[in-house]
Amino acid sequence: MLSLVGAIAISACTNEPKVSTAPTTSVTSATTESKTESKTETPKDSKMAGHNSKVKININEAILSSLDKIEAELGIAGLSNKIQAARPYAKVEDLVSKKVVTAEQFEKIKDMVSIETIVLTGEAKDVDYLTKLGLMKGHMIVAKELLDLQKPDQAFPHIEHPVEEIYADVEAQLKERNVKEFKQSLMDLQQLVKSKPTDPSITAKYQEAMSSIDTAIAAIPEAQRQSPKLALQVINAILDTAGTEYMAAIANDKIKEIIEYQDSRGFTIYVEQLYKSIATTMEKDHPDTHKQFIASLEKLKSAYPSPLAPEKPVLSVAEMSTLIKANEQAATKVYAKS
């Protein structure tokens, strides 16, 4: 929240940033520098030895575990979250003007960071891919529950979301990973649920769409997906979204927006499924974290007694966010060991 306030203050008062947001001279010089520097830095500008200037981290887009590389470079605990919370950045120097790092610290990492869209590679790319497909699954899971409850009108938005919110974001990766496109299958299902909500073919269409998503997920080998490090990053990203949706569902201690409540429920159920795939390894290698996760998932699930939202929230937004944050911190310890 603090960082949010910061971001707003900046947007409200930016003609002379030194007045409101950047009182030190070092910051001012960094801001001035940005005026002359073009926003694209060429790799040869790299002054620091040791960094591979080709693998810059996009501070607007990168997932937490990628930002951890910056955190590790500077040795500042919690920096990744701070970088994420102070988004958006119009230029890399905003890390200084938004007081995420000092000018001295910025010098050490400036060759690692970028605001240019970066083609994701390796694990970060896999996490991104699995997170988006996981969100699709979450939407579909809750859609099915609502179809089974004979509530096609309530199921509809959750069948719509994977196509409208997520598919375009993952389309390029599907192609690269040689996954057969399945947008049409999602759209057919959407159309059926909308115009023929009692059509018996909905079940088969639903299964077809769901198995297309599973096939897309299987483009990453199972052995890799069962690595706690990879799975936990996906889990964190999905839980973070579940928490935000939960917050966006509640006003004045009432569940006002049932769609967002249901989204949040679907994501949490999927997270539980995903955790099962690494539970054995976790229990063996990280028993304490495992215990914490199991307990906290149980608690998180209690917020969703039914696909049809209760009138009053079972967990407060604050309780929800505390649980999710604790999971994130526990997971970070697991990555650090891997």
Binding site: L4, A7, I8, I10, S11, A12, C13, T14, N15, E16, P17, V19, S20, S34, K35, S38, N60, E61, Q84, R87, P88, Y89, A90, D94, I115, T117, T131, K132, P157, E160, H161, V163, E164, E165, I166, A168, D169, A237, D240, T241, T244, E245, M247, A248, A249, A251, N252, K254, K256, E257, I258, I259, E260, D263
Partner: protein, 338 residues
């Protein structure tokens, strides 16, 4: 929110002129003439903005609703200005998030909005400026910002930005006129009507004559999720300008930037009492196309309307779809003696 402004209100110094002076560091300028006059060859003509002496009830309503129609009325965000390669760059920081607002004593509504306000800030640039929008999404759902005006396809803002991520939209401000920005994730009607929109004014290279400039954005609220609007408003808060008339000066040019952002109803008119206005369609001309006292606007249509009140007193303005007006989209100008 705009805490500086709020503070001024609390101190009871609510005149708009005072506010403009108090936040000298802000790019949000109460009247554009104060910025444009410096470059204009014409001697600046003083535009008088009568103080708005907010009633205790209005102040209380602004505080409890979480919406500030006074700010939307005459605040323009010119961005953080820098020069890059000899041209003006305007940088804006926009964040999508959710916030509960109180539309009336009985109605809590969860908005999705830009920078914690509905409508989002009115962004302003001059034709040919470089505009750089740093956009972060903290809304749970994927969102995006799609700008009207001309720009390359990559900057069209239809690609979903996932929760927690940020991106940069950058393009040249063109062509001059009254434009808008809004989220373009499906279902677009829901994303817009929950509050993810704002006005984007591109000033012509030769400034328009000095005038008291006012933003009026019409919008609808679907408070029960039935795909129809139950409430309507100018600048976010239903019925507000009826209880707090907009003070304008007699015999002075008034320039209205009017946008119809009502979803679910295909069309609304804008009508003023006891006067005629000159129409500059989409703000795309320097001379008026027509004169009327009622103009028909489909969703996303926007125009500049110019008029001068010769007589003092209170005059209504509203869509002539009277059910829309009765449900909150109605206001008064209070013409004070010059």
């Amino acid at each position: 929110m705009d805490r500086q402004r709020r503070k001024i209100l609390e101190l009871g110094l609510g005149g708009m002129g005072l506010i403009g002076g108090a936040i000298a560091c802000s790019p949000i300028i109460s009247n554009r003439n104060s910025e444009q006059d410096k470059s204009s060859s014409n001697p600046p003509k003083k535009i008088a903005i009568p103080p708005m002496n907010l009633s205790a009830v209005s102040q209380e309503r602004i505080k409890t609703s979480g919406l500030d129609p006074i700010a939307t009325l005459r605040e323009f965000d010119y961005g953080k200005v820098t020069q890059e390669n000899g041209r003006t760059v305007r940088e804006f920081q926009l964040t999508a998030q959710s916030k509960t607002v109180k539309l009336d004593a009985a109605t809590d509504f969860i908005t999705w909005n830009v920078n914690d306000r509905v409508p989002g800030p009115t962004l302003r640039a001059t034709e040919g400026d470089r505009v750089r929008i740093a956009f972060a999404n903290r809304g749970g759902h994927s969102h995006s910002l799609h700008f009207h005006g001309e720009h390359p396809s990559e900057m069209d803002g239809v690609k979903p930005i996932r929760n927690g991520a940020a991106t940069i939209y950058e393009f040249d401000a063109m062509p001059y006129g009254v434009h808008l920005y809004h989220c373009h994730i499906e279902p677009v009607a829901r994303h817009i009507s929950k509050g993810l929109y704002g006005m984007f004014i591109i000033d012509p290279p030769t400034p328009r004559p000095p005038a008291d400039e006012i933003v009026l954005i019409m919008a609808g609220y679907d408070t029960n999720g039935d795909g129809r609007n139950e409430m309507y408003a100018f600048n976010g808060l239903p019925h507000f300008y009826m209880q707090q008339p907009i003070a304008v000066q007699q015999n002075q040019l008034l320039r209205l930037y009017v946008l119809n952002m009502i979803e679910y109803d295909p069309v609304a008119t804008f009508h003023i009492h006891a006067n005629m206005f000159q129409v500059y369609r989409t703000g795309r001309s320097m001379s008026s196309n027509e004169e009327s006292d009622v103009i028909t606007m489909g969703t996303a249509e926007r125009h500049i309307l110019e008029l001068t009140y010769r007589f003092t007193g209170k005059y209504m303005f509203h869509p002539h779809q009277d059910t829309i007006a009765d449900a909150g989209c109605m206001g008064l100008f209070d013409v004070v003696a010059s």
